[in-house]
């Protein structure tokens, strides 16, 4: 297994806690919005998910700045693909809305960032393969898969436990079920890895 790059290890350390915080804020605090009456508190709570997203963006910027010249070119191609598709879709949607053909709610803006990230990843993957890479766009080779799955399972369990009084049974069931599946998957991968390691170390 190739040695993890310190750059990717740092990225994993910075990106995943930010995303875990984002999930926790969206599932636990954002649903409280209708119950909040103070105007400033409402604004603060509505904008709260932006804070962990800014930390995730910081992690991405530091990843790009620490990348070598070919990796930076691949990032640029990914960003170009994402910017082109999202801006074209926005323009098309804007024209259709202005012509009263479709109705667009302001909350559609929430989809801009996730769409950019998904298209950026797809663009990077495509560009990486063109340069003989493996299309790994998550840049988490410093963070083994079983740890990622177990961490995600832990976050979902924590969210389910913390939100047990405000989530409905269906939401609690989904969170617990996902958590159990991810934890089981992580454990299977961890056991398989330990067994492989034992086999390699055996004389």
């Amino acid at each position: 297994m190739p040695k993890p790059r310190p750059l990717h290890q740092r990225y994993a350390r910075e990106f995943w806690p930010a995303m875990a915080a984002y999930v926790a804020v969206m599932l636990l605090l954002w649903p409280l919005l209708p119950r909040v009456h103070g105007e400033w508190l409402k604004i603060a709570l509505a904008l709260l998910p932006v804070v962990p997203v800014l930390f995730a963006v910081r992690a991405m910027v530091r990843l790009v700045l620490g990348s070598d010249e070919l990796e930076q070119r691949i990032h640029l191609i990914g960003l170009a693909v994402a910017a082109t598709v999202v801006s074209t879709l926005s323009m098309a949607g804007g024209f259709l809305a202005a012509a009263n053909i479709i109705k667009l709610d302001g909350s559609i803006l929430l989809w801009v960032w996730p769409t950019l990230v998904v298209l950026y990843s797809a663009g990077r993957s495509w560009a990486s393969r063109r340069y003989g890479g493996d299309g790994n766009v998550i840049c988490n080779d410093g963070f083994a898969w079983h740890w990622r799955l177990l961490l995600l399972a832990l976050v979902l369990t924590a969210v389910a436990w913390l939100g047990r009084n405000q989530l409905v049974d269906y939401q609690l069931g989904v969170l617990c079920g996902m958590s159990a599946v991810l934890a089981a998957w992580g454990l299977i991968l961890a056991i398989a890895r330990w067994r492989r390691r034992d086999d390699q170390e055996a004389p």
């Binding site: 190739p2 040695k3 790059r5 990348s67 070598d68 010249e69 070919l70 990796e71 990486s128 063109r130 340069y131 003989g132 890479g133 493996d134």
Partner: protein
Amino acid sequence: MNNNLRELRGEQSWSQADLAERLEVSRQTINAIETGKYDPSLPLAFKIARLFGRPIESIFVPGEE
């Protein structure tokens, strides 16, 4: 542009990862240069030449136009 980076690396018995570490770039970048999929910048080309103790034109040669 063509290059003989793979041969030079082989003479030193370095893996792509070893060379990447010495040049402070990713292994993918070394692989892309060796396979001719990517031409390095001038600073990186000079760094490669310095590492192998050879003139830059003995490592990188212009390809057919």
